[in-house]
């Protein structure tokens, strides 16, 4: 089959505004959108710029706007989206070139929530153990691959780039509810900020966008509840 692939392109050296470029790409229904981008890059225009690494939905490099929704280009098959495909860069982050956005604002928020184990007790000889129930408590949020699909689907984040965004809250949740961790109070202080969880108005875009199926909105609500009742 032939796919009409429309790509929003932007070259910072020559363009003042982004433009849509259209390519006719030979495709198989089982091809991924990433394969189409590769085909263009390798056969038509080598300057087409986008991120990808694993190509198997693990590394989180290639989140982009595909037919209006945030998806991983390496996980979307042509047969799911049809023969008219529009690919654009993620919204709400500065575009460096073509589909390549500057992820720094996203990672800056991520770093602020202390996304690592905080535990001042002397390290035990073996692992820090926890019960299966305790592990289960935060299982959902361990799945995050930091692709930014959720954060850049959030209308609050589009308008207010100081909002921490769903991904940072998900990764805070990952440790706040971990029984081995002792940094919950610190993280909750960060998220109680004006630009923290209270900015969320449960639009659910993030939950829809997550390629890993994380219940993002629920995680945010659980953090709100922890703040409200001062109890993890």
């Amino acid at each position: 089959m032939q796919v009409k692939l429309r790509v929003r392109r932007f070259n910072p050296e020559t363009d003042s505004e982004s433009r849509i470029e259209t390519y006719d790409v030979p495709a198989d229904p089982m091809d991924r959108v990433l394969d189409l981008l590769h085909w263009v890059k390798w056969n038509v225009d080598g300057s087409l710029t986008f991120r990808r690494s694993c190509a198997h939905g693990i590394c989180g490099s290639d989140a982009m706007l595909i037919n209006g929704t945030n998806r991983l280009a390496c996980k979307v098959l042509v047969r799911e989206v049809g023969d008219q495909i529009t690919v654009e860069p993620l919204r709400g982050l500065p575009v460096n070139k073509d589909l390549l956005v500057d992820m720094e604002p996203f990672f800056a928020s991520y770093r602020e929530v202390l996304p690592y184990l905080v535990n001042d007790d002397p390290a035990p000889d073996t692992e820090r153990r926890q019960s299966q129930a305790d592990r289960e408590r935060f299982d959902d949020t361990t799945k995050c691959i930091l692709c930014a699909a959720c954060t850049t689907s959030c209308p609050v984040f589009w308008a207010d780039d100081e909002y921490f965004g769903p991904a940072a809250i998900v990764n805070a949740h990952r440790f706040i509810f971990d029984s081995r961790d002792q940094g919950a109070a610190q993280r909750l202080t960060v998220l109680n900020d004006k630009e923290g969880v209270w900015r969320c108005r449960t639009t659910f875009n993030c939950t829809d966008a997550c390629p890993r199926g994380i219940k993002v909105t629920q995680a945010i609500q659980e953090v709100k509840r922890a703040l409200l009742f001062r109890k993890v």
Binding site: S131, V156, A159, Q182, A184, K194, W198, L227, L228, V232
Partner: protein, 141 residues
């Protein structure tokens, strides 16, 4: 040496022996959020009651005239009812707008301007409504 590799017993999982984090005391945004939840629920009840009385029961709008309003407000309960509805609706709506203005007008004079207009409109409407509700003198008909 096989005995050495017996796994240590799993830690018990009770809320008592979990670490006791002290989440910070709530701040304004937290209370504002709680207020939105509670006032939202109250408003649904108040507004449904209001609509029922004013628009549905006994022919609804057709029977509303000065005497009807005057008769209702002869009873302090309905004054308090209307005052509660006025106050909650204005604060609920005003706070919603405040949050949205915070999203779109982030800094500088525009933000100050929008937030002030919002606060003034809410304040004036509230003052006017409150005055009407409580200064009203029922006329015997």
């Amino acid at each position: 040496m096989a005995a050495d590799v017996t796994p240590a017993p799993l830690p018990r999982s009770t809320s008592a022996d979990r670490r006791q984090p002290k989440p910070p005391r709530g701040n304004f945004e937290l209370y504002a959020w709680v207020f939105m939840r509670i006032s939202g629920v109250l408003l649904v009840l108040l507004v449904l009651g209001h609509f029922g009385i004013m628009h549905v029961i006994d022919g609804g709008l057709d029977r509303i005239n000065f005497a009807f309003v005057s008769g209702r407000w002869a009873n302090p309960f309905w004054r308090v009812y209307d005052f509660a509805m006025l106050t909650l609706a204005l604060l609920h709506g005003g706070n919603g707008l405040r949050v949205i203005i915070d999203d779109y007008a982030r800094t500088g004079t525009r933000r100050l301007l929008y937030q002030s207009v919002n606060a003034i409109v809410v304040g004036l409407t509230w003052a006017l409504g409150t005055l009407t509700i409580f200064a009203f003198t029922p006329q015997p008909t």
